[in-house]
Symmetry: C2
Subunit: 163 residues, 2 copies
DNA sequence: GCGCGACGGTTAACAATGTAACTATTCCCA
DNA sequence: TGGGAATAGTTACATTGTTAACCGTCGCGC
């Protein structure tokens, strides 16, 4: 029944790194999202936008794009909803009328400050499974994978004779 | 400008684990998807379904759900498209008429066997950034995080006074 | 053997996301 | 200085994901 082959071990998707990371990150993101979605009705893109504004202060949408790895459409939509909800303000940059400068409102700042400790707790809970050296190793590996991840371009299979 | 506070360090989303994993896994999944989407017009759920059938042989949709961490709706749609494309067969289980037994067709098997080596190459390329001990550590940590990830339920923030 | 809760899977309705085309503004240089 | 290329952001449309309701089948107690 198993499409096992002579030379290579079976390809097992449960062990395939992108698959594992995808499942894991979905679960963790979901756990984190409960913090801000339940009580504050924020989506992940919305929270991410507030998070960078809360951390770094006012900036335009493009800077949010750069810091959050979201595309500009997602940011644009998040901004629209956040503005409507009164969490952020949006004013045209007087020096460049294409840009809009975003910033947290007082209400948005309060919300931000309420959410942060909960997310810290989530991260602590995640990392509780690891000891100090493991946490350090995780940091190192993530940094490395984040580097290589950018250049993955499968150019040639190593064993087309996998039949 | 920065919403920095006395006691706690600033909350920086770029360092928040669920965020980092989400960005990383998106990029890796995308890199992997290029392999099967370009040439074979398969989506991720479709490939995942083929992958478990190729690895473990015929099974019903629920077993695919269990092995792929996809919900049943996604599997159902993937199965519909794969059947239409001639990659898999679907026959009612004679011993239980609620179930349908899925299996790769010869064409599906061929496709599967063509894709596998490319995905191996992708994984090798990703792991090339790490040395042997790091790979081992990654394996250990993923296993641990996959365990805890299931039970994350933020119950109490540690520092509500983060204002 | 029959009725009712559970199971396997599909369909339907809706929200979120991605891709591409588009508008408005600014940059830059011929 | 004026006109094309680049930039910032939005809108429109197609695809995908999520949730809930649904249908047929099975298991099981009565």
């Amino acid at each position: 029944m198993v499409a096992e082959t002579r030379a290579a071990p079976a390809f097992t998707i449960e062990q395939f790194l992108p698959f594992r990371l995808s499942v894991l990150s979905n679960r963790l993101t979901r756990a984190a999202a409960r913090v801000y979605s339940r009580r504050f009705r924020l989506s992940a893109p919305e929270w991410r936008t507030m998070a960078v504004l809360g951390r770094y202060g006012a900036m335009n949408a493009n800077s949010v794009v750069d810091r959050t790895a979201m595309d500009k459409v997602r940011v644009s939509r998040a901004v629209a909803r956040l503005t409507a909800a009164g969490h952020i303000t949006r004013r045209i940059d007087p020096t460049d009328h294409r840009r809009a400068i975003l910033d947290l409102t007082p209400q948005g700042t309060t919300t931000y400050q309420q959410i942060v400790p909960w997310l810290r707790a989530v991260q602590d809970e995640i990392l509780a499974a690891l000891d100090d050296s493991e946490r350090h190793a995780l940091e190192t590996m993530l940094a490395k994978l984040e580097q290589t991840g950018t250049t993955i371009t499968p150019t040639r299979a190593t064993a087309e004779s996998d039949d």
